[in-house]
Symmetry: C2
């Protein structure tokens, strides 16, 4: 494909995407293909001869689109928003075209330096404090700094490695981990990536202490955390990291970061704050409270622009207060990567900030998003999501059949079908069954996509708002589908008791 | 940015990329900006109001391009080729536009199933054997399978976790690692990612046994490996993984996979094959020898289409013979990810194949490349690189001043400046100094970019061919620059002895 052919073919792809976005709302959100059917359709060997791009695009439409669940659909309300956006797609396209590899500062200085600047910008806008910046306001170098990770799972894993490095005075990286000695703490609502990090780091699942939450707010119980820390220390174990959740996956609960930080530091443990979904909301002054305590207490903090901040996957922004712990845990300098800039200490080599060596120019994507929307545009997007979620909360509250399952937070509403049309409460097991059936009914209708969780053993629906193409009308339409499905299920339930 | 604005703006980005590729050969390959200068230039807060894309593109040209080292430059010969290509850029653009999240099969079935099919296609084309396929030729499900990782570092890390899972009967993930008990083996030429994997997994650096290589071929010494295994077992340690290198970073050496596999399995250890750069060459029948022994002996294997196979970063293809060990080490199923398809066991949930939970639709990029080039186009690209490298080898051999430092392999030639113009051998330390100075001279000329390594304490240049825009003329031109710089250095050295 020559440069001229590239121009022609690229325009076809651009048109394909613009058309896809314009019409995705007319498609069923959730794919209902059978396992194996897409593989069956695309099976066959690599062709011997080149095929025209038109053939590929035609096969995307014919063979792949039926098997897509459409994350950019305006009525995708499952899991969390995973915004693509025109600006991010173009920023990522630039990154692909430039094709620079930023493993070292020296292998493309702009890749590292733009990332430092953009993460400093974002740290300030999120209220994280100067302590997390590469460069302080007065121009002097900071002790901390930010890096773009692929996902919050990787951010949490590297936070744990940094914490372990600090707790062991560097012995963990050389000597390995002593089984049973180190412990990690988070609430029962923490994301599963913490457990995975414990598995991967050699600490093992049993190192993770699962702390109870308040049954209504779903916030970590600080007294229970204090007890757990005390018991482990008494038994000779070493608390390595406490993780606070800012916006849990289940219900968006925000843990008491300040109290947790004080406790963690009293025991010499690292405080990691997982704000993967909710943290970006702090760009709006009225939502800045979500990051309260981070500036004073966190050792590390992660939030994902690739979730609710319009920045196509992958782009997880991660900051540390003390980069020496992170770099100490991960740095290696083989001869073939040695260079004068690295040895001068004047540059950031991001290979030492994550598990991978290679890395693409993700900062240009985030930079394009921040500039194309501006703070005003980003805030408008976030506020639209919060307003739409408030409408969902209003509808839930006004309907006697539904009960909130936890306090709503920002764009996330957790609720369940818990009563009949008259408002008479259903037995818990029956409400579980009907709530799950309600989700299946909505999801298989093709009209919208919700997901679920369990709280205290009860089944709960999660309605996560925040799509970049979602409008108030999409919320109303989805509510109608949900309400009609509830009518049908309750009617059916009434007709066939038990 | 509306859909119509997106079309307009996207065309500007496409034109920017086409122009960049067309003119990149006229730019200095290696950026020579001072540390901090790019950051200084782009510094400032996030703007309040949206900025037009034109402003972003203009700033890319004005502020970022001077700080780029151009990996897509036709005379980029450092490290390894990291091919972008028109087809890959368009495939990745599709992935961004679709914006699907493939953490579970259920969250977008096409994302998982296309990946399974494409990796089966590639496994067959690379001669890895049916054992590494998701689906056998007869349609029955295999015990192994492939996954797209971000980098070979992650592939190696997950191979180690799978090996550890198998060696401990699953205890590592629950109980953690016992410091000092487990060992890992590879040659002194193995990539630093193995050491990093040992650090991250809790085994620690001291778990890694560095096995000597032959001083000329740089291949692992099998007898030394056997000794090391024996000594560890005698001391009560458990060999977990042996890593064979197919194309070392330094010189492209190919370890004796068959003998290493036999030894590894005799001790119950996992054989991981790191063919990150060289493995893709096996698409050409005449280079299929690089993967000899893999089909019979490897437990896992990685090669990176994002290096020499025209597939814009990131795309690292990784296969395992027994997926249950990998999935066993990494799977977690919290309530909010439960779904009927996962529970049926009939689907692949790729979240259990890597550290991350979230994942983008990378398979559509690789699929677009494989179809747009076809096997014939891919082979033509690989063969061009090998032919250009053979020309470099011929030039080195014909010039009395230069000495090969190891056997050339495929697209990689390692050599050093070791004699004066008359062919009289220089003292080793002087040859080291002049070889390093020669690299600096070439790289700062802006004409080409080479990198270096050390072999047995001696400084060696690495000339890595394989760029998608590289022609024979680029090789000749670079040789001229190199030869002229050597003239100057040797003349200067002769004038100022010592």
């Amino acid at each position: 494909m020559s440069a001229e052919q590239f121009r022609t073919e690229a325009h076809k792809v651009i048109d394909w995407i613009a058309d896809y976005w314009a019409t995705v709302g007319e498609r069923p959100v959730l794919s209902t293909v059978e396992p194996g059917s897409v593989a069956e359709a695309v099976d066959g060997p690599i062709p011997d001869d080149p095929e025209p791009l038109e053939q590929v695009l035609s096969d995307v439409d014919r063979l792949l689109v039926p098997g897509l669940t459409h994350w950019q659909h305006p009525r995708f309300f499952a899991y969390f928003p995973a915004n693509s956006s025109p600006a991010a797609v173009l920023g990522d396209l630039l990154s692909s075209g430039i094709g620079a590899q930023g493993m070292l500062w020296a292998t493309s200085p702009s890749v590292s330096e733009l990332e430092q600047v953009v993460l400093d910008q974002l740290a300030r806008a999120l209220g994280l404090s100067e302590a997390f910046c590469h460069r302080r306001e007065d121009g002097s170098p900071g002790a901390g700094g930010g890096v773009i990770q692929d996902t919050a799972s990787t951010a949490t894993f590297t936070a744990l490695l940094a914490a372990l490095h600090r707790a062991t005075g560097g012995r963990a990286r050389t000597e390995g981990v002593e089984s049973g000695r180190y412990t990690v703490y988070a609430s029962s609502q923490a994301h599963s990536s913490l457990q995975k990090a414990a598995m991967m780091s050699g600490l093992g699942e049993r190192a993770v202490r699962t702390i109870d939450v308040d049954a209504w707010t779903q916030q970590l119980d600080v007294a229970a955390l204090a007890e757990a820390l005390k018991a482990d220390v008494a038994a000779g174990r070493v608390p390595v990291m406490v993780q606070a959740c800012v916006g849990t996956t289940g219900t968006g609960a925000v843990d008491p970061v300040t109290e947790m930080g004080a406790l963690a530091h009293r025991h010499g443990a690292w405080l990691h704050v997982d704000a993967a979904w909710a943290g970006v909301a702090a760009l709006c002054p009225e939502h800045a409270w979500v990051n309260a305590g981070v500036a004073e207490h966190a050792d590390s903090y992660v939030t994902n622009p690739h979730k609710w901040l319009l920045t196509t996957f992958d782009c997880s922004s991660f900051w540390v207060r003390d980069r020496s712990a992170l770099v100490g845990a991960l740095s290696i300098l083989p001869e073939y990567l040695r260079n004068p800039a690295s040895e001068s200490g004047a540059v950031v080599d991001y290979r030492d900030w994550h598990p991978q060596l290679g890395r693409r120019f993700r900062a240009v994507k985030l930079w394009t998003v921040l500039r194309s929307y501006g703070l005003s545009g980003l805030r408008a997007h976030l506020r639209a999501g919060v307003a739409q979620a408030a409408r969902v909360t209003g509808l839930v509250d006004a309907d006697p059949r539904f009960t909130p399952a936890a306090p709503p937070c920002l764009g996330l509403v957790a609720f369940r079908l818990a009563a009949d049309a008259s408002g008479a409460r259903l037995p818990d097991a029956e409400a579980d069954r009907l709530t799950a059936a309600l989700m299946t009914a909505v999801n298989t209708s093709g009209e919208a996509y919700l997901s679920h969780t369990q709280l205290s053993g009860r089944t709960v629906l999660r309605w996560a708002v925040g799509g970049w193409q979602t409008t108030a009308a999409d919320v109303e339409r989805t509510w109608q589908v949900l309400s009609d499905a509830a009518d049908e299920l309750l009617g059916h339930a009434a007709a066939t008791p038990g």
